[in-house]
């Protein structure tokens, strides 16, 4: 109601009645709305970037004197992407009783609905570890963009995928979000960023998800589209590449070794 009355207040009086065949009388509405949205989005974005630069909110390290169990969320892609990421998950979650390294006791694997093999691989990995069924879950989300879909309609499908991600993040809020290249990870990362600045889900048990992007080993000379998006927008806390030629430490692109 408030929005519509505001709209009526800025529509020229002459055009309340009668036919209007031109868009020109409504130009001021379009421009005002666009500017308003652009301002809101840019303010939110600046807020997010400043928060990430200050590394805020901090990760709470301990409960009492015991190390806090961490939650891990992994975005799995098609064949090669999953094959690369699973060794990293294995290295992160390797049980070392005496070490003080973080223990990711809660694991969520996210994959696209159309992907069949990724959930099987994740399940095989967990069965090999003899994990308790409550310890992990494998969740499917819709794709942000199908191959060949137009860019305009992909906005709507990205928002739909983000909606699924919000419910997912509210149920299983991660401390670490790992992704390595499939387009599926873009809505997850965007949703996690919005949750992190507290815009959405301020009622849910929010954790400050650190977003780590590991570029696929197939990329030797240039970042992939997803990697470029996450790098330019600074949505990812850390970007790792797997070839020396791609590393640019001054620009926050790091090379420390290869996964495969």
């Amino acid at each position: 109601m408030a929005l519509s009355s505001w709209l009526y207040s800025i529509v020229p009086r002459d055009h309340y009645l009668g036919e209007v065949s031109s868009w020109k009388p409504y130009l001021n509405i379009y421009v005002t709305t666009l500017l308003l949205f652009a301002t809101i989005v840019s303010f939110l974005y600046a807020y997010f970037v400043s928060l990430t630069a200050l590394n805020w909110p901090p990760v709470t390290k301990t409960i009492g004197d015991r190390h806090r169990p961490y939650a891990l969320m992994v975005v799995l892609g098609a064949g090669g992407h999953t094959a690369e990421l699973m060794p990293l998950v294995r290295a992160l979650t390797e049980p070392e009783p005496r070490s003080t390294k973080p223990k990711y006791v809660d694991r969520t694997y996210v994959h696209a609905f159309t992907d069949v093999l990724a959930p099987k691989r994740a399940l095989a990995f967990e069965q090999e570890r003899n994990s308790h069924p409550d310890e992990f879950r494998i969740v499917a989300i819709p794709r942000a963009r199908e191959v060949g879909q137009s860019y305009f309609s992909s906005i709507a499908s990205t928002l739909k995928a983000m909606w699924w991600c919000f419910s997912l993040l509210s149920k299983h809020p991660p401390d670490l979000l790992l992704c390595n290249g499939p387009g599926t990870c873009v809505p997850v990362v965007m949703a996690a960023a919005l949750v992190r600045i507290g815009l959405i889900g301020w009622r849910m048990p929010s954790r400050a998800a650190r977003i780590v992007y590991v570029e696929s080993a197939a990329r030797v000379n240039a970042l992939s589209l997803t990697g470029n998006v996450l790098h330019v927008t600074r949505l990812a806390d850390r970007i790792y590449v797997q070839w020396e030629s791609l590393a640019d430490p001054e620009n926050d692109i790091f090379y420390v070794g290869r996964l495969v």
Binding site: P58, V59, K61, H67, R68, Y70, A78, G79, G80, H81, T82, A83, E84, P87, L88, R90, A91, L92, T100, K101, P102, L117, K120, A124, E128, N130, D175, L176, L178, R210, V212, V214, S216, A217, A218, R219, V220, N221, D237, R238, Y240, Q242, W243, F254, V256, G257, R258, L259, V260
Partner: protein, 240 residues
Amino acid sequence: MASSSAKSQKKKKKQRGGGGGGGNGGGESRVSSWSSSSPSMSHENGSSFWDLTPGTSKNCCFVTVGTTSFDLLTSLFLQPLNCIYEPLFEQLMRLKVTHLVVQRGRGYGIYHGEHMMLEKDNDNVIYKIPYSTFGIADSIEEIFFNSDIVITHAGAGSIFEALSFGKKVIAVTNPGLMGNHQAELADELAKRRHIVTVHGPENLVDALKTVDLDALEPYVPGNPATIANEINKLIGDYPL
């Protein structure tokens, strides 16, 4: 659990022994490791695909396109009945290939049957290469383990999986695929002499004529623990 750990131990042994030398010796034990779990590797008449006469060695060539569709590559190997592609068959003979396994992926290549014998009468000496083919399987690790030469599409997953088994890899790029983005990795690995890269399936036969698989250098796999440590530092609970 027990079987998987035994398998991984076997893999380690194999890797220590040096890849590619799997052709000679130990035939019986390897045949027995090809049990029922591999994707339908037996002929219709019941005899095993991997039955070897004593004293012969196995040199298996695995052609894989992963889960993608790359019919231009697989159709070189999968010809309709009695229509073998002779130039390629000659090169397979030169490489002393005794078995051929072809993974079609999502492709729709025309082929005669799941199991067939490629035969060629060469001055009254008949060369036979039994082959087996399948589309997509949950796990193809056993096939990688049992093969000696891997001819693969240039996808990162397939190349690195074959390299991790210490196999001789020939990667064929797909020029028609999304701006030929796979060539980037294949060229880099070929520059480091870990694999042989062929640009396009039409150049495969010419490349096989001059290929020297013994000159390839073994690939030292990366260590995911280094990246895992960096991530743990970021999370901040790990002593720096």
